[in-house]
Symmetry: C2
Subunit: 134 residues, 2 copies
DNA sequence: TTATTTCTGCAACATTGTTGCAATTTGTTA
DNA sequence: TAACAAATTGCAACAATGTTGCAGAAATAA
């Protein structure tokens, strides 16, 4: 399915910057930092980029993978909608090359804490990616 | 042990703002957002607050619990030093009252991912705290 | 093609991050 | 205690990101 169809399926009009963001995020396995997105989308006003990211998040097309040192990383979603955001995967950041990957776990992680009722979990792992450990 | 002694033990001079920050962070079970710290420490220049937080983190007295929507949350460490930062606990944020707690798990969480070598984990849970679920 | 709705770019301002530097404060030594 | 050296603070200054209002442009519906 092409990006234009994806946008329509999520109640979003097809515009240049939306197509450009989806293209910039590539295959969805990696998250891109805001700064890199802004650089790649330099032809557009940064306010538009800001609002477009909000819209794509809201409609379930992308998600914020992590925030670090004031910079947010964004990645494609797989199968989310406005009313159902499901991100049961972890984010792995390589301390060496800085790459941030969206990785699915084979076995589910679950635990409970006394007194509190857990709705969602965000897990960020750091270490060395396969490319950098070779 | 009082705050002044704690500072000395971590190779830090005893100054007003450092004592004030340690006092503002209370008993260490909860993390405070930057904005709240800045408000509580209004008598000091914000650059000094910025650099003092960096120094306290570096020396192992406090840690950044989480970053959310461009705001960082800080909490006291327990037993960290400049050369050994160990934070084997999770951060829980209540969706209702916004409180962020540092919670230790009874059982260790560990998992592996194919191809990558994991050095550290950051886990943030969200839900409803005991006070808000009552 | 026209009308309606949505989106974009621009201006404007707030907040946080960050560095340099001179004045002040702290800890040390005589 | 006084003088000294080292570390810390406050202020100015600038960068980056977040955020809103609004008018013109673009996308869809009729
Ligand atoms: Mn992800
Ligand atoms: Mn903590
Ligand atoms: Zn790597
Ligand atoms: Zn609560």
């Amino acid at each position: 399915m092409d990006a234009a169809t994806t946008l329509k399926n999520h109640d979003l009009r097809v515009t240049k910057i939306r197509l450009a963001i989806l293209e910039a995020l590539g295959d969805g396995h990696q998250a891109k930092p805001y700064g890199e997105l802004q650089a790649a989308l330099g032809e557009f006003d940064r306010t538009t980029l800001y609002r477009t990211l909000l819209a794509l998040i809201e409609k379930g097309l992308i998600h914020k993978a992590l925030e670090e040192n004031g910079e947010s990383y964004y990645a494609l979603c797989g199968g989310c909608t406005t009313h159902a955001h499901t991100h049961d995967h972890i984010h792995f950041k390589c301390n060496d090359c800085g790459t941030v990957e969206c990785l699915h776990l084979s076995n589910e992680i679950g635990f409970s804490l006394p007194g509190v009722d857990i709705d969602s979990l965000e897990i960020t792992a750091k270490g060395t990616c396969s490319a950098c450990s070779a």
